[in-house]
Symmetry: C2
């Protein structure tokens, strides 16, 4: 089973309509969805999942508010029902014109993410391999930090890099979790 849990934090008095509008973007995707007062749980096919997450954050960013998305990605959790479905295919933004077009038209965001390959002694090797892979991706800038790795770049490129790590880490361990914080329009700057 592949799924996600995310929250959106628009830093403004009008945070409620911004969140509601962003969450409505999920309706275009065939995913199981449960929203509570803290976060929204999504589960389903991986392409739809990543496209839905990107669409929701992109819509929230349109507000020009400083908006943060807190994201948990999980695959293969033994405590969850169902099975893994993975058929890599273009995401919404890739379909919309590929990374080059995305670079020009999508907002620049900053991200901190942590990768957790569960149930294996060699998890640090898997983590280091994915950091190295991110550092080789010229579409994002990558800086290791305490407890996480920082990515910066256009939203579609950052989402694609998160998915790269999520997919490749699964080659060595079936249960993989990523926690990511995505930040746009920060007054502090990136």
């Amino acid at each position: 089973m592949i799924g996600a849990r995310f929250s959106l934090y628009p830093m403004g008095d009008d945070f409620v309509p911004i969140i509601l509008k962003a969450v409505q973007a999920l309706n275009a995707y065939p995913l199981e969805q449960e929203t509570d007062d803290i976060s929204t749980f999504l589960s389903g096919e991986e392409n739809a999942l990543f496209a839905a997450l990107e669409a929701a954050f992109a819509r929230a960013i349109q507000s020009d508010r400083h908006v943060v998305m807190n994201l948990t990605l999980s695959r293969g959790c033994p405590g969850e029902p169902g099975e893994d479905v993975c058929d890599p295919a273009p995401t919404v933004s890739q379909l919309a014109g590929g990374p080059s077009a995305a670079d020009a038209t999508h907002p620049h965001i900053a991200c901190q993410f942590s990768l957790y390959p569960m149930g294996t002694h060699s998890y640090m090797e898997t983590i280091y391999a994915q950091i190295k892979r991110a550092q080789q991706n010229r579409a994002v800038s990558t800086v290791p930090q305490h407890f996480c790795t920082r990515l910066e770049g256009p939203l579609p490129a950052v989402m694609a890099q998160l998915r790269e790590a999520f997919d490749h880490a699964a080659e060595t361990t079936p249960h993989v979790v990523i926690h990511a914080t995505l930040s746009a329009n920060s007054p502090t700057g990136a």
Copy 2:
């Protein structure tokens, strides 16, 4: 090495002064601190760490804004320098009057947390044991959810429960991470 990385999200136009004021609360504690545009990294002695985190969130909540804290707790990460220091002692809120007094004077918050015992095949047993332990804690209400466990109760009780899980999980595995989302003053209600 024990440390944390946290962000505060006050949902209002005045989010900048609320964050800055809350982060200033950290100065009262002898901790290593690095703040960037996404989050603040803290490292040091465990009692000071938990007291500082609680103080920062408590100060942000005073604004009466809907405020969320995104928190990563980490101990024993082989990729980090230094050593573990753990000497359980009263936290700030316990010193201020204990759980009963805290119940009456501290805000009710909702929390979703996930526990990651790293580098061990038996991590699910450790996770289930800590969920069971939380369920036995009458100071908080505990509900398992997809990818996380929900806690509700007074801020000091929720922080104490997170620390319980953080400390007890370390008895079976040296590298433990917790991701928690703490929410106060939500218009959706708890």
